[in-house]
Amino acid sequence: MAHYEFDMPVTEQQIRQVRVNDTVTLNKTLYGIRDATQIHMFDHGRKTRFDLRGHAVVHTAPNVRWVGETQAAPSGYEPICIGTTTSARMERFTRPLMEQCGVRIIIGKGGLFAASQSAFKDIGGIYLAIVGGAAALETTWIEQIEEVDLDDLNPESLWKFRIKGFGPLLVAMDSHGGNLYTEVNKVARDNRAEVLAALGVKSA
């Protein structure tokens, strides 16, 4: 189990060396993206001015305060609380996000499924598991909201964060077919019969 420090953006080669159970800490740049952002980008054909090639996105919609554009808050927004949402709803956007925008890392909670797994394998991408609900801590890893795009979708805008020491995050899906969620899920399903028997369920 290795640990990697990535100064974003990264290359395919950097991603391919990473395996499940490794840990990764990110620095410099991170983008925030969510359901509505991706519905508008991939279903309604809207474009972003951001260059996401080689970058990481986190499934989020932050709590922010509008303070007006200043040197300390160039986007006009100050972070209040930035956390991570459940990734499962955004499964079908992984491939377009990678193919059309060049994204290499998805950060989320709860995991993604087979379509994402094959996109990670084909194109070279990984899924990093952050601890959901630990947003107060996650916020301390974000220095600034540098820019914002598609802000009519606020809070589901496309956010550009400046980050420092964002992690360590667990590699839960890699580009070689490794997937911690399916491993755990298999163990849990194997335990089902025993648990039901302990509950005295007859037809288990």
């Binding site: 609380c81 598991a129 947003a135 849990a188």
Partner: protein, 291 residues
Amino acid sequence: MKIDLQQIEDASKEIYIRALKLLPPDIKEGFKRLDATETNATGKAILGTMIRNIKVAEANTNLLCQDTGIPIYNVVIGTGVEVDGYALKQAIIQGCARATKEHPLRSSVVHPTTRQNEHTSCGRGVPVINIDFSNENNMLSMEMIPKGSGSEFNSWLKMALPADGIDAIKTFVIDCVLEAGGKTCPPTIVGVGVGGTADLCVHLSKVAATRALGTSCTDPEGAKLEKELSGVVNKLGVGPQGLGGDSTAFAVHVETAATHITLNPVAVNMQCHSARRSRATFTPLGLSYGF
């Protein structure tokens, strides 16, 4: 006792913000208990991060989780309380909107088809306001629950057959926990509604999921069932965040209601590890805040 509506509005604002920032003591105790018994290294590390997050939120007076949830207010009105019911609801809505604007908080509430966000955490039928009555004299209490979507997204109802009996209920609960995996932000409180009509059953599952840890169902049969389910749910191995371990749930809670001779309804709703709730209580002594 006459209720001051401005105080209701102010308290409605205050308990939304307090709920988002201060985790109730019973949930903190629950974390300690799980942390002491977790045997999986990944699970242990994740629990450690969650416990650290509670401390960071307190130290920075920040929100525990970014999900401000669907706001729910559970109001209980005792005897001898004088309050205009309609105005009470309006004051709660106003307080909820003020919390969102004045803190400010992310409004997580949109119209279901237009997806329009009013940026007030309010909309048609939201905040959810449940009103009940008790025989306690001169008391009005408001409980606030910001119900996060990770756990709410995974909600289930099954209208099982009477012939399938309690086995159908137990099997359904276990299968829901398996299907939820890491999506509900485990460790969770697994809320189970048993009986009633379809809507009452789902409501009971929410009551169960948001009940304080350490409390029991007042129906002895429900209490027996929740004890049994709590005893085995952590043998599944789903673990914190669905990444493996012993700490799948703090507990399974059950709430029951009588049902029709033809029905055997069971519903499951979960509360995530950020099991947030806050309370304001009005008595002749004044207004007090708690959990």
